[in-house]
Symmetry: C2
Subunit: 331 residues, 2 copies
């Protein structure tokens, strides 16, 4: 299987234990609920922000817990929604006078878990609101989803509401802000290989060495079409065609551009894509004012990348520039 694992069924707990051991001061780990939370959370002066999803997308979301981003993440197993009780127990531990905000990528399993947990928490008197993220333009529904999928663009929602929450914004304001960011964020990805969940022990799907899946989902769900591989410039063109036309982004727009690696693609290739995207956008009169290149929302060791555009305004730019203290540090 060519993986660093012990018992594949223990992959997620062992990963979470490693994250906790590497960040003993900043993070608290509650093994019973796969829970990684800020050591200094919750605070009644601040809305608590919780994101859950399947594992296998690291650094999303367990490595994005910290001041200015998430207060907690409670992942499920690889590519599986967290159990309802994980979300419920996490919510109780993160209870705040100002309320709890759930950020949920739009997958049926995740939505159900968070909806049921919200009902249980509200019965306990905890005020909860949920923001669903659906930035992926590739398909309007798929194996795991009714409506569009939520993918790497969720980082912009997390960062914006995380920064605003630090400034004391209330729950309704954060929901409105997050919805506004989601509304100007669009993503599409492409895969050059499959990936192998540890407990499955076999590739999620089959793809020939010279093929690519255009519009891939982050759990290997089919995209728009299977095609022969093309050059980096052509990959960028087809991603931009889909993403730009969807909002649509227009000449004069100032944007953030993210090239997100899906796990198995070298950083150098991500920068080749970035350079092509930056120049193709410039030729359309769209100015990249902030850039993100690296791994944000991965699919284990899948070779591939996604491209996200966010239409910026001054308020959103300030929120993106606000400090964040997360374990996914560099050096």
């Amino acid at each position: 299987m060519s993986k660093f694992v012990n018992d594949p069924k223990q992959f997620v707990p062992e990963m979470l234990k490693g994250i906790a051991l590497a960040n003993p001061d900043a993070l608290r780990y509650v093994p019973a609920y796969n829970l990684i939370m800020r050591a200094d959370a919750p605070s009644d002066d601040k809305v608590s922000i919780i994101q859950g999803s399947g594992s296998g997308h690291e650094p999303a979301h367990v490595m994005v817990v910290g001041k200015g981003m998430l207060d907690a993440a409670c992942p499920g197993d690889v590519f599986s929604a967290p159990p309802v009780d994980y979300v419920y127990e996490t919510t109780k531990l993160l209870k705040s006078e100002k309320g709890v905000l759930y950020l949920v990528n739009n997958y049926t399993g995740d939505r159900l878990a968070f909806e049921m947990a919200a009902e249980m928490a509200e019965a306990d008197g905890i005020r909860v609101r949920t923001l669903v993220i659906d930035d992926d333009v590739a398909v309007s529904g798929s194996t795991h989803t009714v409506g569009r999928r939520g993918v790497a663009g969720n980082f912009f929602v997390m960062k914006a509401v995380g920064a605003a929450a630090e400034c004391g914004d209330d729950l309704d304001a954060l929901v409105a802000l997050g919805a506004r960011v989601n509304g100007v964020t669009r993503t599409m990805g492409v895969a050059l290989s499959s990936c192998t969940p540890p407990a499955k022990g076999a590739p999620l799907f089959q793809i020939a060495a010279d093929e690519m899946e255009v519009g891939i989902g982050i759990h290997g769900e089919p995209g728009r079409r299977r095609a022969k591989q093309v050059t980096a410039n052509e990959v960028v063109s087809l991603l931009l065609d889909a993403v730009v036309s969807d909002l649509p982004f227009q000449a004069g727009d100032r944007v953030a551009l993210m090239i997100n690696g899906l796990g198995g693609t070298p950083i150098g290739e991500l920068y080749v894509l970035y350079g092509a995207a930056h120049e193709q956008l410039a030729s359309q009169g769209i100015q990249v004012a902030r850039s993100y290149v690296g791994e944000y929302c991965t699919s284990l060791e899948m070779a591939g990348a996604s491209l996200t555009l966010v239409r910026l305004d001054d308020e959103l730019m300030d929120l993106l520039l606000a400090p964040a203290e997360i374990p996914y540090r560099v050096f």
Copy 2:
């Protein structure tokens, strides 16, 4: 080939262009010499620090250029030393009254390029000193090397001398500091797969799906032995056995621990390795006081990881904690 490339021969320049476009304020790119330099360098108040190597190891070293780390990097093609004239021209552009420090990982090609460039620069009246890094305990010589190889442990040397240079330390002091850090830094890696340089278009070496190369070099050079894959805990044991016994690290030592991904290994697996290493070290009485988990010195999309230990003292810890502003940001 399952890569995002255009003309494979243009892979490195296109990557560098992308890095420059993503960091227009912080970095300056000089295409003629593959040169990425701090936009505000050089300064006569500070030693200029230059690192060169082959490409394909990103973020090393072109993404580690910035305040508190490198002043410039001038990489060669993938897994190839930079040409002498790239190093020489880079040196002239980074000339400082306080001198120029070369950081060179111990490979024959890199050493030759930097030695010849140093002679040329000194003939121009530029004061140059060179620090060779050789942290890899796996082999005492290999395909590309006389003596030990320099691998991911070079990040600790870069960080320490980079921080000290910002404080105004002179060239001789930086060389002494760098040698001291190199002297307490030990690394060994393991590969689960090969990788494919774009211009070669074929894997560097062959390895069966159930095998691993213990002590792999970052250019795919052979290590100590080829073996059947084992569990993550056992991988950590064999890496620690080699690394700990080499210095040797001892009960009571306070260390930095780096788990470096070689490019194709998911972050989650790196944290599984980290957790195991942290606990195995604790059981030997060795305390991890600072941790690094992620991609630092890669081999394109190779699946694998290396483990680095650094014996810390108060001075070195302060240098590691000093701020650095490099493009390899998170969010």
